[in-house]
Symmetry: C2
DNA sequence: GTTTTAAATGAAACATTGTTTCAATAAAAA
DNA sequence: TTTTTATTGAAACAATGTTTCATTTAAAAC
């Protein structure tokens, strides 16, 4: 799906920064940090606008934010950017490689249900696994 | 166990900052942010020393660090501060309340095993659940 | 196609979190 | 009590994220 169509579907204005941001993520095979996005967006990148747009795109359900650790956030497109606000948001596990630093959306590894103590109500659950990725574990 | 004994067992020097840090956590019933620690440590608090000591105490296995989100880290004592470097580290789930903001170590809710795609090797797994805590869900 | 309007942008200044270097200090060993 | 070595705290810095406000632009109205 073209960046302009994604924005259309989600009723967001088609601005150059947003188109560049989405394009940068579409051209990536794994989640990207702000710095990686900056390189990919070249002159279309402005820090303040970037922060505002990742917020807007996350709220709209176009992208998701992955907190790798307290100083590292990465961004990835949602699987079904197609459907407008269709909140079925495939909740998957994230993986971060201790060797190459790459982050992966393990789209087929679903988050498990946790039975919590009495009185605790789950709304969201984030699972961040750290270890060695398929490229680094072979060494 | 007294703060001074904890440091003894872990072969760490008994400095005032470290004693105050451990005492502050012992007097808390749930994980604390740096700002909360600052209040509890009063004049024994110095930002730079604090950061160095949480690092040292984490490395020694006295405390653990909980990344609630990209701008919030909290600290808690490990369950068995007693045993020297005894790395059985009860890996438990963490919970953050969207209403009161409190974080909880759900010591009895173990992290589940995830079967990952071929080639991915797990070393650590962090689970952060967000929702409403036992105090806030009753409203 | 031109005008209008509301949203998005980017500059500036700020806030928070965390780190590095280095001289002074304090804990523990001799 | 002296010596040794780790720890401390000041200063300066770096990275990440936010707020305010005048300017620009997308999209709607005409
Ligand atoms: Mn993902
Ligand atoms: Mn915990
Ligand atoms: Zn790797
Ligand atoms: Zn609560």
């Amino acid at each position: 799906m073209k960046p302009t169509d994604i924005l259309q579907v989600h009723e967001l204005k088609k601005t150059n920064s947003r188109l560049a941001l989405i394009k940068a993520l579409q051209e990536s095979t794994f989640p990207q940090s702000e710095n990686e996005m900056k390189s990919r967006m070249s002159d279309q990148y402005d820090r303040i606008t970037f922060y505002r747009n990742v917020q807007a795109l996350e709220d709209a359900g176009v992208i998701h934010r992955i907190v790798v650790d307290s100083h590292t956030v990465k961004y990835a497109l949602n699987c079904c950017e197609t459907e407008k606000k269709h909140q079925h948001i495939h909740k998957h596990v994230h993986f971060n490689c201790k060797s190459c630093g790459k982050t992966f959306c393990l789209e087929n590894t679903d988050i498990q249900q946790y039975r919590l103590p009495a009185g605790f109500q789950t709304e969201e659950c984030e699972v961040m696994i750290k270890g060695y990725c398929k490229f680094c574990s072979q060494k």
